[in-house]
């Protein structure tokens, strides 16, 4: 139990209930925030964290319960009201306008005015400069946002939130697309803000961040409040147990076996941001590709799958060169690809599971080009059983499934094509802890059946936990190759940073 200093409490929510048609999204939830403290909100996907913060900032109205903010009872009906009261929110997905300047983005929706409706552009730019200075960022306020990197754009999001006089800042998974160095910068900014007395609600999936940045942690599960504990003393096992409601078994379970023949190989591959890449994956093996953001690991996957152009070199599958690699040719040759963003690249959210499962193999399943829903459903049901996809039936829309189950549908789609080699690009990103271990188990089962998997990951624990072998990249080059027993954080980072131990 965490004790709040009553004098500093800025937000107190009690018995918050929120219903959506058919579901009880929040069930008598509590949340208290203190000035100058970081309050971590933890829970699996669908636990109600996002719904709760959306209630806080007025995107959703509350059905029951009371919200006290800054000494008054409030019930914000839109974002404008909560912003005016000093609540800022940084969303998980970047929501900037790429074609507009940094200053225009920072002040989007509340530009300083000369008169009603007429914007004071000079003031807008100088105010933006002041905010950027406060954050220690040296960006040009007149630069177009599309010319900034993802991490820089994330910082602009922070600047945007601070352009209001914020007293309470909500950050929804702000580090999901940042490298560790950029995370340091962001945490520096968070500390600066808390020192100024800003209260912060911080949603994160990353356990290791909680102790580093958090003061207290509130755990939620299935729309219910579980407990609020001290972030510095809580152990990871305790937190996980509270989140999933059961003690978790071992996260990474692997049955390592002797790999067989090479099924996938690149020879001197060069492309958009990499060159001289020679990697191979054998049947029965999970090979991971690790590198810091920008090292070129996703680019290799995209090129190997024929999505990006190849400047030099060849891609071989089962010893045969894939001529003119395009996604079409690669799938035909027996490759499957789980993209980084399953929601936009891997699935049709508004279509049923069955349609998604057969999508990549229509030509194989229905030889004459006529669909047969009975056959389609049989196939979908088979994979729903094999992969243990939690759904009442194959006709359920994919968009209504949880992250982990969505990922399983993507996997099912590729298994249905009869491929033997799979590329997994960040397979557990944005997936909760419980579902993660299921995905790992599934990957283990697949390689047990003779599949070969190339996994791209930015999660070190994951790389160490599940790989048979690991290639490490830096600046577009493979800098090291490590066997399972050699995998330690230190060894990998040495290669990734190109420090001691790296070949030149």
């Amino acid at each position: 139990m965490y004790r709040f200093n009553e004098e500093n409490v800025i937000l107190r929510m009690t018995d918050i209930t929120k219903r959506f048609p058919g579901t009880l999204a929040l069930d008598h939830v509590r949340l208290t925030c203190e000035k100058g403290k970081v309050h971590v909100l933890l829970g699996e996907n669908g636990a109600g964290k996002s719904t709760l913060v959306k209630v806080v900032c007025g995107l959703y109205s509350l059905d029951e319960g009371t919200e006290w903010y800054d000494g008054k009872e409030v019930n914000f009906s839109n974002v404008k009201e909560s912003m005016a009261a000093g609540i800022g929110m940084i969303h998980q997905e970047l929501s900037l306008l790429p074609e507009r300047t940094v200053a225009q983005n920072i002040f989007a929706g509340h530009e300083p005015m000369k008169r009603k409706g007429i914007i004071d552009i000079k003031k807008m730019i100088s105010d933006s400069q002041a905010i950027l200075d406060r954050l220690g960022l040296d960006y040009d306020p007149n630069a177009l946002v599309k010319k900034l990197s993802i991490a820089q754009q994330q910082m602009v999001e922070v600047a945007k939130a601070l352009s209001h006089d914020v007293k309470l800042l909500i950050m929804d998974e702000p580090t999901s697309s940042l490298t560790s160095k950029e995370i340091r910068t962001l945490f520096g900014i968070v500390r600066r803000l808390t020192a100024e007395g800003v209260a912060i609600i911080y949603i994160s999936h990353r356990m290791e961040e909680i102790q580093e940045i958090g003061d207290c942690v509130t755990v939620m599960r299935d729309g219910q409040y579980i407990d609020t504990v001290d972030a510095k003393t809580a152990t990871m096992d305790d937190l996980i147990a509270m989140m999933v409601g059961r003690k978790l078994g071992k996260m990474y379970e692997r049955n390592f076996q002797k790999p067989e023949d090479i099924i996938f190989e690149t020879r001197n591959l060069a492309g958009l941001r990499f060159k001289n890449v020679n990697i191979s994956v054998r049947s029965g093996e999970i090979v991971s590709l690790y590198g810091l953001v920008g090292a070129g690991r996703s680019e290799i996957a995209m090129a190997a799958f024929g999505y990006d152009p190849i400047d030099e070199g060849t891609v071989l599958l089962f010893g045969k060169e894939i001529k003119h690699p395009t996604p079409y040719n690669c799938v035909k040759a027996g490759m499957g690809f789980l993209p980084e963003d399953r929601k936009t690249q891997g699935l049709h959210l508004a279509m049923p599971i069955a349609d998604n499962v057969v999508e990549a193999s229509l030509g194989k399943i229905f030889k004459r080009g006529f669909l047969n829903s009975k056959r389609e459903n049989e196939i979908a049901e088979k994979y729903i059983n094999d992969l243990k996809i939690a759904t009442p039936g194959a006709e359920k829309l994919v968009g209504e499934l949880s992250g982990g189950n969505q990922q399983k549908v993507v996997i099912a789609k590729w298994l249905a094509t009869g491929c033997k080699f799979l590329i997994f690009d960040e397979p557990t990103r944005g997936i909760d802890v419980g579902a993660k271990s299921e995905i790992y188990k599934l990957m283990d089962t697949l390689v047990g059946q003779g599949y070969g998997i190339l996994m791209i990951s930015s999660d070190l624990q994951e790389v160490i936990g599940v790989s048979d072998r690991c290639y490490v990249m830096k600046d577009g080059l493979i800098t090291g190759e490590l066997e399972h027993q050699e995998l330690t954080q230190e060894r990998i980072m040495q290669f990734a940073f190109g420090g001691k131990g790296a070949t030149e």
Partner: protein, 324 residues
């Protein structure tokens, strides 16, 4: 391309100048002050419709009803003038009609969340039909001093008042786009609607205003076109809808919205009119002109897409160097 808040000169401006010079060499009698003014004059009504079209495309929608509003405006002017109604009343009525159609589109789309294609296609049909009904199916000639003045009167040097009026309206629109909350919000709404909502922007109000302005501008264009020809033709606006869309897209405001703006549209409009003039003077039949115009539009878009891809690739490479 944007530097320190200065007005950006779009690449299309350069192309317009090159094309103009090119025609001076290959088309007989193209190069004359008289023809230059004529091109400007012929651009006016199209430009004013295109201003509203730019904004509706900027917010990632499209107003198909502009041409019909224009026809309505022209026909109303002619019929009411012939009935002896005072000019002030006529102009007010025509503008009110523009406000009405714009508001109707705006309310249906922003408040009732109707699809903009269906909504503006319906109003397009309704008012195209009404214009025909009012005009009894044929062009209505009329005489009106005010209309004649705005359509045909010139300053010394041969510059038409019409051009001055159009320049003034365009100037106001540029100011609104670049300096007002409404203008800024259009970029937010078109760039990313959900982000605009999260920023506390009243998206519905912005959409409503865009259709309102589009309606008003189209009705003004109707008045001007009636003045130029001293007649209200019930089908005068038909071609304008798609030509305006072409002018906007050529000018650098893509259908996905969120970028571009009026300055580009001005050059897009000039480009189309220079083409028409130049091709006519080269003696190319109007039947061929349409085809050639289409080819040029496609080529421009190809150049733009290639250019954009290069920028994206450079962007990737740049992030790469950042990571070092």
């Amino acid at each position: 391309m944007i530097k320190k808040g200065k007005i950006k000169i779009p690449g299309i401006a350069l192309f317009v100048i090159v094309l103009y010079i090119l025609f001076c060499f290959i088309a007989q009698s193209f190069f004359s002050w008289y023809n230059f003014v004529l091109i400007l004059r012929n651009s006016c009504t199209l430009l004013i419709v295109s201003l509203g079209m730019t904004w509706s495309i900027l917010i990632a929608q499209t107003d198909l009803s502009v041409g019909s509003v224009m026809s309505m405006g022209a026909v109303m002017s002619a019929v009411m003038s012939n009935a002896g109604i005072p000019t002030v009343v006529i102009v007010i009525c025509v503008l009110a009609m523009g406000v009405g159609v714009g508001s109707l589109n705006g309310i249906l789309i922003s408040k009732f969340k109707f699809d903009f294609w269906v909504t503006t296609f319906s109003t397009m049909s309704i008012f195209a039909g009404l214009a025909l009904v009012i005009a009894n199916g044929a062009t209505v000639g009329f005489e009106n001093k005010f209309y004649d003045f705005i359509g045909n009167a010139t300053l010394p040097g041969g510059i038409y008042w019409l051009i001055i009026i159009t320049a003034l309206i365009s100037g106001i629109c540029i100011y609104v786009e670049r300096n007002t909350e409404f203008g800024f919000n259009m970029f937010s709404v078109g760039g990313c609607e959900s982000a605009a909502i999260d920023s506390g922007i009243n998206v519905a109000k912005n959409q409503f205003l865009v259709y309102l302005f589009s309606g008003i501008l189209s009705s003004i264009s109707g008045i001007l076109v009636a003045g130029m020809s001293n007649a209200g033709a019930p089908t005068v606006g038909v071609d304008y809808t798609f030509t305006a869309m072409a002018a906007v897209v050529i000018g650098g405001t893509p259908f996905i919205g969120g970028k571009g703006g009026i300055v580009g549209t001005i050059f897009g409009t000039l480009l189309l009119r220079i083409l028409t003039s130049g091709l006519s003077m080269m003696g190319i039949a109007p039947t061929w002109q349409k085809a050639i115009t289409g080819v040029i539009i496609v080529s421009l878009i190809v150049v733009d897409v290639v250019n954009e891809n290069r920028v994206v690739k450079n962007g990737l490479r740049r992030i790469y160097t950042d990571a070092e």
